[in-house]
Symmetry: D3
Subunit: 138 residues, 6 copies
C-alpha cells in the first residue's frame, strides 16, 4: 500500500490523477479526507499495487502531485476466486463476476454492462442490477 | 437546493446517479458522507438547480434511488460574471473561463482542455494549468 | 431543519444523544463531520422535525450537548406515498414498505425484520433483503 | 488489521455488519468514508482482531458484504493496564475503567452504566459522567 | 449562511482563508468534505454571519478562492444567554463562559485559558478543563 | 505510524493535542473522521515519527487523550531530496522548497512566507504563491 497526504493540489488535479492512476495497471486507488495541521482540510491518496509497479506509481505521483514523500507498507490480501463470464439475460448478453466462497457461488453483474443497459432501456441501475442477479443461476 | 439522505443504495449506483444527474441540466450536484441512526454510514445527495428543473430532478431521484423523501429549500446565489473564451496558448488553442470581480479579471483554464493537453504532451496537470494561466493576459 | 456544530462533546455522548433524539418523535437526525477553527475536528448535528417539535428538540440539545446556539431553517419535503404492509414471504410474515411513484410501485423490506430473519437463519442481510423483495409482488 | 473497501453494499447492510462483527469477539471495528473511482462514495471497513480470529472474521465479511478482497497487515499495540471495577457513586453502584500510566491512575466511567443512570434520572450524559469521574478516587 | 464548493484551491490556501475569515467578525466558519463530479474530493466552506457582513465576506471569498458562485440562505438562531466571566481557580484567574438554560446554569472554561494553563503546568487539557469546571460554582 | 481511535475527547482537546504534537519533533500528524460502534462519530489520530520518538509520542498521547491503546506499524518512506532556499522575489526575500525528481527541479514557496506576504500586501494567497513560483528559476 502506498499512501501520501496532499495539501497543495486542487480537487481538479486530484480527480485527474485518480483516473490516470488506473491506466498504470494498479489494483486500486482511493481518496480519504483528512485534517492536517494549520487548519488544512487535505486528502490522503492510497494506492494498492503489486511490488513491481511501485516505482512506476511513485514516479507518477511525484510528477503529478507536488508531494515530496510517499509512505509504503506491505499488505497481504485474501482474494476470492472470481471469473468474469458472459451470460444471457433478458436484456441480452452481459458480463457477470462469478465468485466462489465456501461452497457458495455468488453472481455480481458488471458495473459497465448494468450502466449501458440502464441507459439503453431507461431503467434504474438497481432494477437492472437486481433483475440480472436474480435471473442468472450458475 | 434539493437534498436527500440515502441509506439503501450501493456506491456503484450512487456514482451512476451523479453522472446522469448532470445530463438533466442542473447547476451542481455533490455527495456528503453522513452518519445516520443504527450505525449506518450514509450519503447525502445535494442538487442545486433552477426552480423549473425541480420536478424533473425529483422524478429522476425517486426512480434511481430508493429514497422516499426529498428536502427542498431556496438558496440565493451571488454569481460572478464569467465568459468562456478560446485563447492561444503555447500548447495551441484552449478555453479559459474569464471572471470579473471588482475591477479585477481572473483567468481560469478549462479543466477538459488542461486534461487533454496534459495527456497529449505527458505533462502534469498543474504544470499545464499554471503555464496557460500565466501566459494569458486579458 | 435544526443544525448545531459541536466541538466540546465526546463521541460517546454524541452516540447517546443520537439514539435518544429519536425517542422525541423527530423525522430524522444525522451527523456530518466538519472541520472548525483552531484545528478542531468537529461534528454537525442535523435534526429534521415538525414545527411543533422544535422547542422540545432544542431543550433536549441544550441539555445534553454543551452547545450554546442552534441554527434553524425551513425545508419543504416531497414525500412519496408509502404504507407499511405485513406480507407473507418464504421466511414467514414480514413487513415491507410499499411506495408508489408515477404509476410504479416499489417494495422495500423493513430493516428490523430483515435483520431478525438474517440472524434466525444465519443468512446474509443482502440475501434476505433481495429474496423478500423479489418474492413480494403488490 | 483487516481492511476492505466496500462499494456494493447499502448503509443498512453495513450497520448490520458492524453490530454483528462485535459478536465474534474482535478488538475493534470501524468505518471510514472514502472516495473510489467512477465517482463512488464508498466505505472502508477496518477490523482489529487477534491472529486466531482472522479466518472467522474473513468468512463473516465475505458472507455478509459482496466484497471479494480483504487486505491484512500486522499492527503492534501498546495497551495500558486497565481494570473494570465496581464502585459506589452517588447514583449507586457503577462500573469504571481504571487505567494506570506512569504512576498516574485514571478513572473512566463505563458507557453503558452512565447511559442507564442518565436515562433513569433524566440527567445529561456529560453530567453523570463527570460527577462519577470526580467522586471516585482510587 | 453562505456556502461555496471549492474544487480549485489547495489545502494550504483553505487553511489560510479559514483563519483570516474570523478577522472579519463573522459568527462561525467551517469546512465539510464533499465529493463533486469528475472524481473530485472537494471542500464546502460554510460561513455564518450577520446580514450586514455578507458583502464583505463575499468579497473576501471571491478574492481569496477561485470560486465563482456563493449560495446564501437565511437561518434563524436560538442562542442561549451567555456571559464571559473572570473567576478564581486553583490555577489562578481564568475566564469561563456562563450559560443559562431553563433555570440551570452551566460553566464552560474558555479554551484559550485552559490551553495556557495546560502548557504552563504541563497538565493535560482535559484535567485542567474538568478541574476548573468542578471548582467554579456560580 | 502510530494510530489511535478516540471516542472520549472533545474537539477542543483534539485541536490542542494536534498542535502540541508537532512540538515533539514528529514528521507528521493528522486526523481522520471515522464511525465507531454505538453510533459514535469518532476521530482517528495518526502520527508519523522516527522509531526513537515513539515512546515520547505514546506518553504524550496517553497523558492528553483518554485512549488506552495505540496501534503501531512500520512504514517505509520514499522522500524526494529537498532543500529550503532563501530567494529574491518581487515581494522581497522569501523561502522556497527546492525539490529534485528525475532530473526535474520543482520550486514550492514556503507557506509561512506566502502567508506573511499575502497579509502585508493584501493579496490573495494563490496570487502570491503563483507569482513567486513563476519568478523563481533554479
Amino acid at each position: 500500500m502506498l499512501e501520501t497526504n496532499i495539501d497543495d493540489s486542487t480537487s481538479e488535479n486530484l480527480g485527474f490523477v485518480l483516473e490516470q492512476l488506473f491506466e498504470l495497471g494498479i489494483n486500486d486507488a482511493y481518496f480519504t479526507s483528512i485534517q492536517m495541521k494549520k487548519n488544512r482540510p487535505a486528502i490522503k491518496l492510497s494506492v494498492l499495487c503489486k511490488l513491481e509497479k511501485i516505482e512506476q506509481v511513485e514516479n507518477f505521483v511525484f510528477k503529478h502531485l507536488s508531494t515530496i514523500g510517499i509512505r509504503k507498507y506491505k499488505v497481504d490480501r485474501t482474494i476470492l476466486k472470481r471469473e468474469i463470464k458472459k451470460v444471457k439475460s433478458s436484456f441480452g448478453r452481459c458480463r457477470v463476476k462469478v465468485v466462489t466462497h465456501q461452497n457458495e457461488t455468488y453472481v455480481y453483474p458488471e458495473y459497465e454492462d448494468v450502466k449501458k443497459i440502464s441507459l439503453k432501456y431507461d431503467l434504474s441501475f438497481n432494477e437492472v442490477y437486481n433483475r440480472i442477479k436474480n435471473e442468472i443461476k450458475i
